[in-house]
């Protein structure tokens, strides 16, 4: 058995896929490639494949990571060649690395993710750049930002997500676009999505700050506890 981790980008042409859609996309591409997939055991075996962190709908990405197990040794170069020919425009494979089959799954190593959010239309920037900045500051001063979620038992669970915001900065030059840089915690330890962050930001000044849909969100990269790609060491 062997394992490969690979990096890829997602462009705007395929930005509107959900996490499940992305899984289906890769699984089908992998099946078409004819590479020797390793299957899980049990009643309903499925290929052992995961993506490190779900990418929200509408968000583009610069360095996503996936992980797949094979029943025999597969060279990283061969993998890139075979899988690339099966991927649609909009998803680009940018690297692949063999890692040992032992050890934790990629998803268990995720710590945070780095996002950039940019306003789609420059015209919405003027006049409220200062307001966005003020609101951002106000928001970051808070000790508690509560997120309510319904759990599996249909009960509402409240979490303080303020600690999940590691960093949030604004960049703005006159007559240029406004950009936010966000580092948000993510993964099995808990975290928040950039969509939730922007919703909260808008709440600071609902009528003047752009809504979630006015931003284009790009995930620059996922940040891991350990470097998941040995070749980078």
């Amino acid at each position: 058995m062997s394992r490969i981790r690979f990096t890829f980008t997602r462009e705007v042409a395929l930005a509107y896929l959900s996490h499940l859609d992305m899984l289906r996309l890769f699984l089908r591409a992998l099946r078409r490639s004819g590479l020797p997939l390793e299957y899980s055991r049990g009643y309903n075996p499925h290929p052992r494949f995961t993506l490190a962190l779900p990418l929200p709908l509408g968000v583009t990405a610069g360095e996503e990571i996936g992980e797949v197990f094979f029943s025999e040794k597969v060279e990283a170069g061969f993998f890139i060649e075979e899988l690339t020919s099966q991927l649609p425009g909009g998803i680009k494979l940018t690297g692949a690395f063999s890692v040992g089959a032992e050890g934790p799954y990629i998803a268990a190593l995720v710590r945070a993710a780095l996002y950039r959010a940019k306003l789609k239309s420059i015209s919405t920037v003027h006049g409220n750049a200062r307001l966005v900045k003020e609101s951002l500051e106000k928001m970051l001063l808070k000790e508690e930002i509560i997120m309510n979620r319904t759990n599996k038992k249909k009960k509402i669970v409240s979490t303080n997500v303020r600690p999940f915001i590691k960093e949030a900065k604004m960049f703005y030059e006159q007559d240029k676009n406004l950009e936010l840089m966000l580092e948000l915690e993510a993964g099995s330890q808990g975290g928040i999505s950039p969509v939730f962050f922007l919703e909260q930001l808008q709440k600071e000044a609902p009528s003047e700050i752009p809504g979630v849909h006015d931003w284009h969100i790009h995930r620059e990269k996922i940040i891991f506890v350990d470097n998941p790609l040995p070749a980078f060491d």
Partner: protein
Amino acid sequence: MFGLQGEKMSLEEAVINDILSRVQKPARYQGNEWNSCLKDHSSVSTKMVFAFPDLYEVGMSNQGLKILYHSVNLHDGLLMERVFAPASDMENHLREHKLPLYALESRKPLSTFDVVGFSLQYELSYTNVLNMLDLAGIPLRSENRSMSCPLVIGGGPCAYNPEPLAPFFDLFILGEAEEILPELLLEVGRLKKVVSSRRDLLLHLSNYEGVYVPSFYQPLYEQGILKAIKKLEPQAPDVVKKRLVTRLDDAPYPVSPVVPYIQAVHDRAVIELFRGCARGCRFCQAGYIFRPVRKRSMGNILKLSESLIKNTGYDEISLSSLSSTDYPSIGELIREMDEILTPGRVKCSLPSLRLDSYAVELAEKLHHGKRSSLTFAPEAATERLRRVIRKNISEEEIFSALKDAVDAGWQGFKLYFMIGLPTETDQDVLAIVNLCRKIRQDLKNRAKSGLMLSVSASTFIPKAHTPFQWEPQLELPLVKDRQEMLRSGFKNLRGTDFSWHDPGASHLEAVFARGDRRLALALERAVRLGCRFDGWSEHFSFQRWHEAFDQANLKMEDYAYRKFDYHDCLPWDHLHCGIEKDIFIEEHLKAIAACQEEENS
């Protein structure tokens, strides 16, 4: 850094992308799927967009779309793209931004294509057809279209009686279009350069077998009754005959269908075993219009299946046909399929099962390990009524098939029935509950952990080109009564789950299924009143439809309850499905005789 940066995007593209971030399931409108085909618009002679008047998930499961997309795009000189009915949130955004409905592949407006071809699968999608034309900025009525407008064409089962849609379409294709369509499109490309009017263009095209140009025919009414259908162009055929593929093995087959990202209704590869069905159930339009039965050879099936899996990456392949278990060597086929599919861990499935022990045996072979539920359609619960509709299966056979299935490990069954069938009485309806009770009594101890029956009752809809085409639909209050009888019957029956169809929607379907051209006005009014997606219970509004009919000065009952005589002129008399009227009359008489036999004995 940003996906948007560096990519040159037109203003329209930017707006579309912005809209997509604001609608439900934006991938419906995104395109760019695996195996989708984007050609240069300036490199072909004729550009067609295939329009499916329902949601993406529904349309992408349609086999006709896959076949035609493949057979047209095979030609260098032709291109076909796709468009589906936008959900209401998308429609609102398009209207708000004054964006015309666009094709998925190139995102070009529908009006820039030469041909817009609608797939007409069910009557309750007609309002979506009109709404899509409107969203595309194409005049609804064909008489108002100029030379520069696309040709609006239609095909599919509803084209066998397209009269309610006649004023909106330039032409219909009767029957199977995979062979004629590329030919026709090439001809359109050639003719466009030489003819000077739409009428001339249509006149040329009407020479093709299977092409029906509705504006060349005029229905004549006397006191509100259709008396005759007058031909207006001497060159047009008296009777339009359906197109038919003679050898399936020679016809183009879509081995590289577009693979959706979001889950389609049928999310799997499909291989068609044969076309047509020889069983001849008298209510079934598909059984008649797809005749004769044409079988694909086993070698061809295996070869195509292998390519399908290789080209799509699906992990399931459906052996599709109207009644797949009737394939002559189905047992052997399943064995052979197993051999080629196992290494790739692909499973094989059958869409529908005949209610007999052999079918259960086949299902057993297919479901290694997993036993979800089996679907059967007895349609009627008494042997008498089954004889009337020619669903010839005895109660004994039903029980032995179910027993076998339970012994093989199945515990859930879906059973489909129909109410309102000709000659049906309250007794026949109550028999549905009794039959299910008996099934549970007899089998629940055989099943390891109980037996679950999901019973569904649809309402019979008399369809054109069937032996029941002369029959009225059961009156609405009676339909409701009989549904109520079933509801209360099943309420007291444990381990059963009963569902039924919206009686209003079935009534409307019956109106259009045997409707005539006068209905076009009601349809236009309904669209204006906001009717869309009438096949979806959450969108269907019977009240709005009543309003539309009032405005058009028409009555739904006149259409749904009309009983035709054999000598009456039927709205579809000039359209030939390949079966002579005599045969339908004979079958209809047999149905009546089957009913009387029982009464006399």
